[in-house]
């Protein structure tokens, strides 16, 4: 009997959601022991395909074969045999249970067996230690509900690694990880692929990382395969971008000089001063209108500053002053009405109103800022304009946000603030899980808002972004303390890595 060359083979997969056809006959195959990058533009069908392979949704037609039991063409069967483990963009954790239980529980297949708590703890510590040993020891008994998004991603990845699956599906696994953790994750993946023949299929938009870890790539475009199993050594970034159908917007090479903030002209309020000053021990930073300030480092430090700026928590150790007067926002609505906008990459928890249609999502902030009492007809027209302005293709304003892909939802969140012309715009990992073309669109949007006088505060764990966009960067160390301020040419990946203490 011929041993099938591939661990998993998908052929001619078709999937539609009502009138919208997402996958139109897609092929993909993964071999044991390989790291396979899965690339494609916004809404091209990647997450849908991953859900089909992992058995979470059904395909309309097409075949799916899994070795070693190639007769089993049911994805759910293969999952049952522990052959596949998946880490989705929307994490699937159990908030009321501890980290240990979340990692170890999937191993128990029979309900009437005993659940050994101390064994679960040991399993969890071992699995988490592969990526972050200190976190492992400290957090194994903590409830997942108490963890940050970043910590939850670690737990979910540890669970997948521990599952003993022979095929790992990762959808943007490094989206919430620091450089150091990403490095350790890749080390683990390399080891598992070599030692155990683990196959990894992962979706990512970070070309750097893809080249670091992947052997081959497959590109999906408009629901079909355009590039099938091409070695990464024999394809250039430009070719990949082109094959994805992204317009040829390479990383914008706007020279720094052009990013000087505009001080006059058609700004937000021509002539009205707009500056921000943040102070804490050791740091006294004054930011002029039109500046893009980057925040670099693991979440704790940047989050404390951002939460203070948007009114989610008290200023704590930060002193914030706007236009010379100290401010301390007691609640988010106060900050919003004072012109502070906020967009987060944690769309599900900090942005998208899942049960309300797109039109309400777009009008949400305007309603707060304007203290609107009634829903008005203009909001529909305005919503339409916003969708056009950002080239968002949605079925209808009355669809739910879930019908949009992750990247499009992100644009939605930015659109919410577009008309309100905030004087300060705080961004928390705004391109998390967003493809290259949409990323460029978002960069252009933000640059435009800065050019009109807004102050942008941008936290990202992707150093490349900060290097490309920021005039000034405030770096934080892993304990949350601000370490230094970088400006101009000293903003480089190496410089950031050094300042944040995270190995690049």
């Amino acid at each position: 009997m011929n041993k099938p060359p591939y661990l998993m083979t998908a052929r001619g997969i078709v999937k539609s959601y009502g009138p919208t056809s997402v996958l139109k006959g897609f092929d993909l195959s993964v071999a044991a022991g390989e790291v396979h990058a899965f690339l494609g533009g916004n809404g091209a069908g990647k997450s849908t395909f991953i859900k089909i392979i992992s058995g979470q949704i059904d395909r309309d037609s097409g075949s799916l074969e899994f070795a070693p039991n190639s007769a089993s063409s049911s994805a759910a069967d293969a999952s049952d045999e522990n052959t596949i483990a998946v880490v989705n963009q929307e994490l699937a954790l159990l908030p009321h249970l501890t980290v240990a239980e979340n990692i170890a529980l999937p191993r128990s297949r029979r309900g009437y067996g005993l659940f050994n708590a101390s064994e679960a703890r040991r399993i969890a510590v071992d699995a988490l230690s592969l990526i972050d040993p200190t976190f492992a020891q400290a957090s194994v008994d903590r409830l997942v509900a108490d963890l940050s998004l970043h910590e939850r991603q670690l737990v979910e990845i540890a669970r997948a690694l521990d599952s003993g699956a022979s095929l790992l599906l990762l959808d943007e696994p490094t989206a919430n990880l620091t450089a150091g953790e990403t490095e350790r994750l890749f080390t683990v993946i390399r080891r598992l692929t070599v030692d155990k023949g683990l196959a990894v299929l992962f979706v990512s938009h970070r070309m750097r990382e893809i080249r670091q870890i992947a052997d081959v790539c497959t590109i999906i475009r408009n629901g079909q395969t355009t590039i099938d199993r091409v070695a990464l050594t024999s394809i250039t970034d430009a070719e990949i971008v082109e094959q994805m159908g992204q317009a040829a917007l390479g990383p914008a090479a706007e020279p720094r000089a052009q990013r000087r903030p505009r001080t006059s002209g058609d700004g937000i309020d021509a002539g009205k001063p707009n500056d921000l000053r943040v102070q804490t021990d050791g740091i006294d930073l004054e930011i002029a209108s039109g500046t893009i300030l980057g925040l670099a480092g693991p979440p704790d430090g940047p989050e404390a500053l951002m939460d203070a700026l948007i009114g989610v928590s008290r200023a704590g150790k930060w002193s914030i002053a706007r236009n010379g007067t100290a401010v301390s926002y007691r609640r988010p609505s106060t900050a919003a009405r004072d012109g502070v906008g906020f967009v987060s990459g944690d769309r599900a928890n900090k942005g998208i109103l899942a049960n309300l249609p797109i039109v309400d999502n777009l009008a949400a902030s305007a309603r707060i800022v304007g203290r609107k009492r009634a829903v008005r007809r203009e909001e529909v027209a305005q919503g339409s304009d916003l969708l056009d302005a950002l080239s968002i293709r949605a079925g209808s304003l009355w669809d739910l946000p879930a019908t949009l892909s992750g990247g499009t939802q992100q644009k939605l969140l930015i659109a919410r603030w577009l008309r309100l012309k905030p004087t300060v715009l705080v961004l928390e990992e705004p391109t998390r899980g967003v493809d290259i073309r949409t990323k460029q669109e978002i960069y252009a949007l933000i640059r435009e808002m800065a050019a009109q006088g807004a102050i942008i505060v941008w936290w990202s764990t992707e150093y490349l972004e900060l290097v490309e966009l920021c005039d000034t960067v405030l770096a934080f160390d892993p304990d949350g303390h601000p370490t230094s301020v970088l400006r101009g040419d000293s903003i480089s990946e190496a410089g950031l890595a050094h300042a944040t203490g995270m190995a690049a």
């Binding site: 994490l91 699937a92 529980l105 999937p106 067996g113």
Partner: protein
């Protein structure tokens, strides 16, 4: 790679007992509250602390405790079972009816219990396989079963003819331990053990925490939910039997007030109506607290019309204290 050394012996045991204490934080707080309340009542009416009265309280609490255990299982999964009160009554009526027609106590009891299983199955099937909201489903079965309790005997109450039947409640299978205590103790141990130590117990919490994530992980969500509703029906039925055995009479209205009390008991004990938390120990303490409040109010001579207010206020205070102590963590 680092090897993780496990602490052994004394240090390990101490760590486990600290963990246990913090795990049962809410329950300990409620237990303390109960003791304090009982002492306060005893200060006003010394007879409250007599063995006779304590036995009274325990016997009155037993049906509520058993029903609360069933409701607990459903609440942990994030659902609710409003039909338990009617299952309670209907079980009593069916059992009484069977006995009136000459069936043995055992056969009649089996008939009664089958009511619980049947209604539990209907609830479970409609919630899991048809996907209807638990509130709506169990409210409907509550109404239907409630009216059936009246129809079964045309509104009359039924005396229990078999003198041995009362042994279900007050007899002593184990010498010295009244049966009503026995049932509560056995169920407490079995259910708490199941919730803490069995994989299926973890599954209940998992489903209540996030049923979508539970499904992704591979937990058989439908099967587990169905079982929870079945058990809730069965336990409500059993509690009806115990109560009928105690009273000696089956009445159609017997269970109506118990439903809210059972839910209150479970929530006082630490469960959340959103699912994901709760314990059998807590449910038992919650049921005890409610019973003690009523007993205390009776003994002190509180006007019966005020008892609802007393019960409600004390429950609110208990829940608030629990919330405050949790927030301060």
């Amino acid at each position: 790679m680092k090897t993780i050394t496990q602490p052994v012996g004394e240090a390990s045991r101490r760590r486990s007992s600290i963990r246990l204490l913090s795990l049962y934080r809410t329950e300990i707080a409620i237990a303390i509250a109960i003791i304090v309340m009982e002492l306060a009542v005893g200060a006003i009416v010394p007879a409250a602390l007599s063995v006779g009265n304590v036995a009274n309280v325990a016997q009155a609490a037993a049906p509520l405790v058993i029903m609360a255990f069933g409701v607990l299982l459903v609440v942990i999964t994030g659902g609710i079972d409003l039909s338990v009160g009617s299952v309670f009554s209907l079980t009593g009526m069916v059992t009484g009816l069977a006995m009136a027609h000459g069936f043995s106590a055992l056969a009649s009891s089996a008939a009664g219990l089958s009511i619980g299983v049947l209604i539990g199955a209907i609830n479970g099937a409609l919630v899991t396989y048809v996907g209807l909201a638990p509130f709506v489903v169990t409210l409907s079965t509550y109404a239907i079963a409630g009216s059936l309790s009246f129809i079964v005997t045309d509104g009359h109450s039924l005396p229990i003819s078999d003198p041995n039947f009362w042994l279900l409640d007050a007899g002593t299978l184990i010498p010295g331990v009244p049966n009503y205590v026995l049932w509560c103790a056995v169920l407490l141990i079995v259910i708490e053990f199941g919730l803490r130590k069995l994989v299926a117990g973890r599954w209940l919490y998992a489903i209540g925490s996030s049923s979508s994530s539970a499904r992704v992980i591979g937990i058989p969500v439908n099967r587990v939910r169905m079982t929870a509703y079945l058990l809730s029906g069965l336990l409500a039925s059993f509690s009806g039997l115990v109560s009928v055995s105690y009273i000696g009479n089956a009445e159609a209205t017997a269970g109506s007030s118990l439903m809210l009390q059972a839910i209150a008991a479970v929530v006082i004990g630490g469960a959340s109506l959103f699912g994901g938390t709760g314990s059998a120990f807590g449910a038992l303490l919650g049921a005890l607290m409610i019973t003690i409040i009523q007993n205390g109010a009776n003994l002190i001579g509180v006007n019966s019309f005020w008892q609802g207010t007393v019960t409600g206020v004390v429950i609110l205070i208990a829940v608030l204290i629990d919330r405050i102590t949790k927030a301060r963590r």
